[in-house]
């Protein structure tokens, strides 16, 4: 019981990430409204970003900025891993860009069909 509890607590970042992935993916597939699907897409991408960042954390370490040329020498264990942060700067920008394009397409759909609910749009398409 103790081992199970400590296992759950020691890796809680992964459980949060998995929960968010599940929520985001469910919203993208199951929801009817296009904007809710876009929000689900954003949640899904943010969960992956959180996953990468949590890989780079280190207990007892500080932010990855050195003290300047006159500071103490740099030891790797004192600073958190900067590489996932760099990768996720890119991923955040990519998710914003995808969000922009998805919203532009949703606006086009709204301009054409007058609604953002998928079943209304499909019934309009079937009537054409």
């Amino acid at each position: 019981m103790d081992a199970l509890l400590s296992f759950v607590i020691a890796k809680y970042n992964y459980w949060v990430v998995v929960l968010l992935i599940m929520i985001g993916l469910y919203a993208m597939i199951a929801k009817n409204n296009l904007v809710k699907k876009i929000i689900g897409m954003n949640i899904f991408q943010t969960a992956i970003i959180l996953f990468y960042i949590s890989i780079g954390a280190k207990k007892g370490a500080t932010i990855p900025i050195t003290f300047g040329e006159h500071g103490p020498p740099v030891a790797a264990a004192d600073f958190i891993n900067p590489l996932p942060h760099v990768l996720m700067l890119t991923a955040i920008v990519v998710s914003v860009a995808t969000l922009g394009v998805a919203l532009a397409l949703a606006l086009k759909v709204f301009r054409q069909y007058g609604t953002l609910e998928e079943d209304d749009i499909h019934s309009q398409i079937r009537k054409e």
């Binding site: 890796k11 992964y14 998995v18 993916l25 280190k58 891993n81 900067p82 996932p84 922009g100 394009v101």
Partner: protein
């Protein structure tokens, strides 16, 4: 549909949770990810590039090629929103609302009617018009310059504190969007036209790629800033620091312009006539 979605999501969730047993714990300094490549970056970033912020050093120097494409991704998003939404040739304008300033009357001119010539007495207002806007107008006017100053600070101090081109560029863009929200979209487009934005977008990414091409022309590989040492008159390490600064400026210009451009196209659904 919902039941299929629920099953797929639950299966995926169980799979991910099951595999997570073998993961290193949260914050473990001995994890493979923290042991293999990143100690090199942590120990050598200051020595190789004279930039204390390791994240900026990796972003713009060691993995600078990724960042070039990240900037072009954001450029593509701005271009795609323009391409998809922009309505350039419009037909005759639909009904418009005008306010007569001396008498505070609002008149509506329907499609096909004659519009008043621009005179000081008539002011065009948006269809969704908020009447009591004096406080918002004045507050925006006071805050926008400070936001822009802070953005320039964030860009310039990307070497020494968390910050850099992307963050500063977004704050700059936010300042212009705040201006557009406090006043109206037409005023903002008059001051900061769409063509200027589009050209600045391209210019920002061209600065970044151009720095890399210059390094190539001076003999080293693409984006090897050490080659700029002769041009800038400093040693190779400071040349890397200056090279990082140059690309960060390019990134900031591009991101700023793209944020404003996307706002113009999304908020007015391509017409750039009436915004939010």
């Amino acid at each position: 549909m919902k039941s299929i979605a629920l099953t797929v999501v639950l299966i995926l969730g169980c799979l991910l949770v099951y595999v997570a047993q073998e993961f290193p714990g949260f914050g473990d300094p001995g994890a493979p990810a923290n042991v293999h490549v990143s100690p090199f970056y942590i120990e050598n970033a200051m020595r190789d590039t004279a930039v204390p912020n390791m994240v900026t050093a990796i972003l713009a120097d060691y993995r600078g090629f990724d960042t070039l494409f990240e900037t072009s991704v954001i450029f593509t998003a701005g271009l795609a929103c323009f391409f998809l939404l922009r309505v350039i040739r419009r037909r005759a304008p639909e009904s418009r609302l005008y306010r007569h300033i001396p008498t505070d009357l609002t008149i509506r001119i329907e499609k096909g009617g004659r519009l008043p010539a621009s005179s000081a007495e008539f002011q065009r207002i948006d269809s969704v018009w908020v009447p009591y806007d004096l406080i918002i107008h004045m507050t925006g006017r006071l805050i926008v310059p400070f936001i822009q100053l802070f953005a320039l600070y964030v860009i310039a101090h990307g070497h020494y504190s968390p910050g850099g081109g992307f963050q500063g560029g977004v704050i700059l863009g936010a300042a212009v969007i705040l201006f557009a929200l406090c006043n109206n979209l037409r005023m903002t487009v008059r001051r900061f036209s769409e063509r200027t934005n589009a050209l600045l977008c391209s210019l920002g990414v061209i600065i970044y790629a151009g720095t890399g091409v210059m390094c190539m022309l001076l003999g080293s590989n693409f984006l090897d800033y050490g080659a700029l040492a002769g041009l800038l008159g400093v040693d190779r390490i400071m040349a890397r620091s200056h090279g990082i600064m140059m690309v960060e400026i390019g990134v900031a210009i591009a991101v700023n312009a793209v944020m404003v451009w996307i706002y113009y196209n999304l908020s007015s659904v391509g017409r750039q006539d009436e915004g939010l």
